[in-house]
Structure formats: structure tokens, C-alpha cells
């Protein structure tokens, strides 16, 4: 299986990522997350744990591969300072059929939210604070254990 994991400050090219996934696949499912335009949100800054981040994502891709017959998987996550409207995360999965591709993409995204060591800090009206984890994200990831 072809795997690509990238943690980067620069924006990513979703079309190029899809092109990298589609070889031999009947289905490519993708998710692109953007920094929400919320009221007075000025900046979102992300930090991560270099080394553990890549290992944790690789583990999740391995788990997805054990559940569904995937041909390829790509996870690109940005770090550093981002503005509202900017793309922040890309998850793409390739399989022969859409059902596996959709399921694996959602699985990877749920685990990325709750297990990959990233932390968001937001600045609103000059005040900077760390974003709290959401229980709804934990519930979404827990579904896959049932």
C-alpha cells in the first residue's frame, strides 16, 4: 500500500494529492478541513510533537488498512500560523470501491482528531488561548471500537 504522511507549514495542493492517490483505484475519498471563519477569530496556530505525530498517523493508517482493503492513503496536516479560510488538513484514501474509501477516510479523520498530537491555539481580538478538546470528537472516534 502506498502511504504519504506530511506535516508542513505550507499550504497543500488537494488536486495533486488526489492525483497521487488515484493510480489503479476505482475510488478516492478525500476530506479537506479549513480553518472556520468564526466571528473575531484572527489566527489559529498549531504545534505538534515531531516524531510522535508521524508515528501515530502511520499507526492509524495501518489500522485502517487492516480493516479495509486500501490501495493508498495520504494525510497532510499543516502546523504553524493559519488564517480563517485556509486549508488545514487533507485526508485521502484510495480503494477499488467507494464504500471502503469513504469509511477509511472518516476513520482516519476521527482518529486524527483524538489521537494525533497536535494542539491549536487561537487568537481573538488580541487574546490568545489554547483550544479545548471536544467530547464530541472522542465520541466520534469511539464509534469505531464498537
Amino acid at each position: 500500500m502506498k502511504t504519504r504522511i506530511a506535516i508542513q507549514c505550507e499550504p497543500f495542493d488537494a488536486a495533486a494529492e488526489i492525483a497521487g492517490l488515484s493510480d489503479g483505484a476505482g475510488a478516492v475519498a478525500t476530506f479537506t478541513g479549513f480553518v472556520r471563519r468564526e466571528g473575531d477569530l484572527a489566527t489559529l496556530r498549531l504545534e505538534h510533537y515531531p516524531g510522535m505525530t508521524e508515528r501515530e498517523i502511520a499507526r492509524h493508517i495501518g489500522e485502517a488498512q487492516a480493516r479495509w482493503p486500501l490501495l493508498a492513503a495520504t494525510v497532510v496536516h499543516r502546523v504553524g500560523s493559519l488564517k480563517p479560510g485556509e486549508p488545514i488538513v487533507f485526508v485521502g484514501t484510495a480503494a477499488l470501491h467507494r464504500r471502503e474509501a469513504f469509511a477509511a477516510c472518516e476513520f482516519l479523520m476521527d482518529y486524527l482528531k483524538t489521537r494525533a498530537p497536535f494542539w491549536k491555539e487561537e487568537t481573538r481580538a488580541g487574546v490568545t488561548r489554547w483550544v479545548d478538546a471536544k467530547a464530541t470528537d472522542d465520541h466520534a472516534a469511539a464509534r469505531w471500537k464498537q
Partner: protein, 83 residues
């Protein structure tokens, strides 16, 4: 052992990483956190409530009861918020 701190844990301790000897009588993450909590007001603030904190041993998520050793890389951080 190597200790790493991320997000508000780093801000409260005032450092991103440090190398310290494994404290005597310290066998798991919970012991270590309680030793760190008495070092200063900042450390007390960071390690005072383990319910708000998460940890990893050698880059894998770990429970507070997980055993630790002199050669481990141990990280403390808030619940993750990526994606």
C-alpha cells in the same frame, strides 16, 4: 530521562524539554507527575490536575499507571486538538 512539554504544559513549566535523572522511588507516570508538581508554582499549575493532562512514553500514548525507565522519552501535553 528526557521530558518534553507541549502547548500550555510548556508555557506553565517554562520549557519545552529537559533531561533529568529518574527520581528515586518513581516507577510510573503518576509518580513522576507528582514529583514534578512540587518543583515550582508553574509545575504545580501544569501537573496539579492529571485529568486535564495526557502523556506519552517513547512517542506512544500511555496511561498514568504505565511504568517508566531511565532511558525513556516522556511527554506531557493537554488533550489533542488537531484536525
Amino acid at each position: 530521562m528526557k521530558l518534553l512539554y507541549f502547548a500550555w504544559v510548556r508555557q506553565k513549566t517554562g520549557r519545552g524539554e529537559e533531561t533529568v535523572p529518574l527520581p528515586a522511588g518513581c516507577s510510573n507516570l503518576r509518580d513522576l507527575a507528582s514529583r514534578l508538581a512540587v518543583r515550582s508554582a508553574g509545575y504545580a499549575d501544569a501537573f496539579g490536575d492529571l485529568r486535564r493532562l495526557r502523556a506519552a512514553i517513547n512517542q506512544e500514548h500511555a496511561d498514568w499507571d504505565a511504568l517508566i525507565g531511565e532511558d525513556d522519552e516522556i511527554a506531557f501535553f493537554p488533550p489533542v486538538t488537531g484536525g
